[in-house]
Every structure is written in C-alpha cells, then in structure tokens.
C-alpha cells in the first residue's frame, strides 16, 4: 500500500472520529465566528473598509481556529498509546503526517466556509459571485496551514505545553503564506482584475505548499520516532 493510499486511510479515520465527536469543528468553528462577530461589533466597519481589511480579518480568524484543529489532531493519538501502535505498524510516518494534514484541511475548509457565510451577513459583503477564485485561494492556503500544523503537531505532541507551543511556533512560519492569502482574498473581494503581479501571491502559496509537503514527507520519521 503506497504512501498516498495510507494517508487517505488515516484521513478517513480522523474524519470519521471528527464527525462523531465534532470536537475540532465545534471549537474552531465557534472561535472563528466569535472573532468575526467581535470585530463587527467593535469597529462597525463600512463596506469599503470591509473590502480593504476583510481578507486580513478572515485569515487571522482562520489561523487562530486552525491552531485548535491542529492541537487535537495528534493529541487524538495519545489515549491508549495509539501513536506508538501506528508507528510500529506498516504505516509510514510520512503517510501519518500527510493523512493528518488532509483531515485538518477538510475540517478547516468546513470552518472557513461557515465563517464566510457569517462574514457575508455581518459585514454586508457579497462573495458568492467570487466563489470559484475564493475556493481556489482557500484550498491552496489552507493546505499550507494544514501541512504546517501537522508537522509541528507531530513535533509538539509529547510536550506538556503543546496547546501553547504549537501556535507560538507555527504563526511566525505562516507569515508568507498568510500575506499571500490575505492579498489574494482582498483582491478577489474588491473585484479587482488578477494580473501577473497578483499571481505572484498565488505562486507563493504553491511554493509554500510544495516545500512544506516535501519537508513533511522527508522529516516525518525523524520527527515522530523518539
């Protein structure tokens, strides 16, 4: 069984558990929505301002919500020593990390689209006409966030302060990805044309995704064993 099929098996298992418990979905979803609502009440922005900072607001909410998802992801393997069982099994460590990232990606995308509805209602922004480009940006940027969360979730899984350590480590590393995602989201919400200069942000997202996915495949065994 190759790495990809094993990764899908891990993702499927994690999503089945998530569907049953809804631990990450409820926590991350409500957290993202609360951030959006608080900003809406605190600043009462007009539609022009919203289009200007909407991208930044959305991605900050998604990044914070993501930390909740990533913390649960590997912590789920600790009861009953499931992590040891997986590492001693024929499952490759790379499949485990990629599978976790896949499950986190799906969970976070659900949270993002629910948040987008709330954003549309409370900030009076119509995003439905831009669904396709927004979905592409969300998919690319969320994969980058998810793979980073999976790698560092694996590193911090046995730390006592992992809930604190994980965000502290991943947020600085996320900066180039978040800047790219924020810029692209802003351009799409403002209905601006996407030219070659704007596509540079898209390339940054792709490079980030490829680099960290490659790192996950190469380093996962070293990270997880011992």
């Amino acid at each position: 069984m190759n790495v990809v099929l094993q990764a899908f098996a891990v993702a499927r298992k994690d999503l089945a558990i998530e569907l049953r418990t809804k631990e990450s979905l409820n926590a991350a979803g409500s957290f993202a929505i609360v951030i959006l609502l608080l900003f809406s009440f605190a600043f009462d922005p007009g539609s022009d301002e919203t289009r200007e900072f909407g991208g930044g607001l959305l991605w900050i909410a998604f990044a914070f919500a993501g930390a909740l998802v990533f913390n649960r992801s590997f912590a789920r393997e600790l009861p009953n020593e499931c992590l040891d069982t997986l590492l001693a099994s024929p499952l490759s460590a790379a499949s485990l990390v990629i599978g976790k990232a896949l499950a986190n990606w799906v969970t976070l995308l659900v949270v993002e689209f629910v948040s987008l509805f709330v954003f549309g209602i409370f900030y009076n922004v119509s995003w439905v006409a831009h669904l396709a480009p927004l979905a592409a940006v969300f998919a690319l940027a969320t994969w980058g966030v998810s793979i980073l969360g999976a790698i560092f979730g694996a590193i911090t899984v046995n730390l006592r302060l992992r809930e604190l350590m994980l965000p502290v480590i991943i947020y600085p590393l996320m900066i180039p990805l978040l800047i790219g995602a924020i810029e692209l989201t802003k351009i799409i919400l403002n209905n601006e044309p996407i030219g070659s200069e704007e596509l540079l942000w898209g390339r940054i997202l792709i490079v980030f995704d490829v680099v960290f996915t490659a790192l996950a495949v190469i380093l996962s065994d070293t990270i997880l064993v011992n």
Partner: protein, 237 residues
C-alpha cells in the same frame, strides 16, 4: 536456524543514564523468547528499540536483516504495548478495518468479521469502543495485534491486567502463532505463563542481559530459579 531478530552490543542512554548496556541478543525464527526482569530493568526499552519506536546510541538491531524502521520490517511486525492501541470513538469493526487497511491486507470485510467472531465481539461490531468493558477492549487489542498474521510479535507485558478469558485467548493465539512459524518476544512479570509458552529466555537486570538461553525443564518447575542464579540480588540471597 535463520535469525529473526538480532541485537548487537546495543546501548541506549536517557541523558547520562544507560538504560541498556551492551545488549546482544539473537532470536531465531519461530522461537518464543520471554524477556524477564524486574520493573525498570530495561525490558520495555529493549522492546521499543526492536519495534522501531525508540532510537539507540550504539550497536545494531535488525529484523530479518533489516533495520526496525524499514517498511518491510514493520510490515512483518505486530506490536502490543502497554496501551491497547485502539480508538475509543470508533467501533470494533472500524478499528480492525483501519489497522488491516494500513497494513495492506486484502478482503478487509471478511478478515474483520472473522477476527470479531474470533475474539467474541461479533455481537457488538458497531458499538463505539468507549462503551466496551475492559475485557472487551483487551480482546479487541489482541485482534488488532494478530489480524495481519505478523511474522514477528513484540508483546510488552501482554498478560498484565487481562481477565481470564483474554489470558486464555492470548495463550491460544500465541500457540497458533508459533505453529505457523512466527517469532515472539514478550516481556512479562508473569513467570509461569511466560515460561510455559517460551522456548527461550532472556533475563534483563539494570539494562544488562544477564542470561540468554533455552528455557529448561528446571525453570518450569522453579520459575524463580533464573533470578536466584543470574541476578545480583539473587546471588546475595
């Protein structure tokens, strides 16, 4: 006879503390080696090294000639540690299905159903494990360990806190595994159960292998004999 597991002059340190010191052990294919020793002697560390869960600083470890982390080595290994290694929020069927799938087994549904029947969980295949009794969880853990018919079984204190039914089931599964030629290494405090199954014995004390050899008739008659003859505490008494 071909060696299934070989440890050569293995040293493992936790900081400055040497948890394993110069351990050399060969377990031939098809044999059953009982790893004996008191708490903290180094049995679990040794098993974790063989199963590829822990790295070591010096020496070499091979399973059928390959490093423990090699995919082929892990494919042939079944590991049962202190935890049961199953997911509380999945059902028994989902758990077995998942572990059989990642091992690349074919015909997952019939394999899973066979093992559920085998460990007496066929009547509760869809019930989440968190609703299981302790005995049911233990039997599910046994099914999870044995489902892929591994050629090497690494069992860390498998008899500890098992109920009578699970002990009988484990003994039966180990006997079957030996009959099909599997190699077994099990660490245990339960001397009688272990010596009854084992063909070989390795005694660990303070991270050193004090004795390795075949299990003899005398050991069966007097399980404490090994400790008296080969440990420092035993020789003082």
């Amino acid at each position: 006879m071909k060696q299934a597991i070989e440890l050569t002059e293995v040293w493992k340190f936790f900081g400055d503390y040497a948890a394993l010191r110069d351990c050399t052990l060969s377990v031939s294919e098809g044999s059953c080696c009982a790893l004996l020793g008191r708490n903290g002697a180094g049995k679990t560390t040794l098993l974790r090294i063989v199963s590829g869960l822990t790295t070591f600083q010096r020496g070499a470890v091979t399973l059928f000639g390959e490093k423990p982390r090699a995919e082929n080595a892990r494919r042939q290994t079944g590991f049962l540690g202190h935890g049961i290694g199953v997911y509380e929020d999945l059902s028994a069927r989902e758990n077995l299905h998942f572990f059989a799938r990642i091992a690349g087994s074919g015909n997952l549904s019939s394999l899973t159903d066979t093992w559920l029947e085998r460990v007496g969980l066929a009547r509760v295949p869809t019930m989440p494990v968190r609703q299981f009794s302790r005995g049911m969880r233990q039997r599910l853990a046994l099914a999870r360990t044995f489902i892929n018919s591994p050629k090497i079984l690494l069992l860390d204190e498998p008899f500890t806190s098992l109920d009578d039914r699970a002990i009988a089931m484990l003994s039966e599964l180990l006997t079957e595994a030996r009959q099909r030629g599997a190699t077994i290494v099990l660490s245990t405090h339960q001397l009688r159960e272990a010596l009854a199954i084992a063909s070989h014995v390795a005694l660990v004390e303070n991270g050193r292998l004090r004795y390795t050899g075949e299990r003899t008739r005398e050991m069966l008659d007097d399980p404490a004999l090994l400790y008296r003859l080969h440990t420092e505490l035993g020789s003082q008494q």
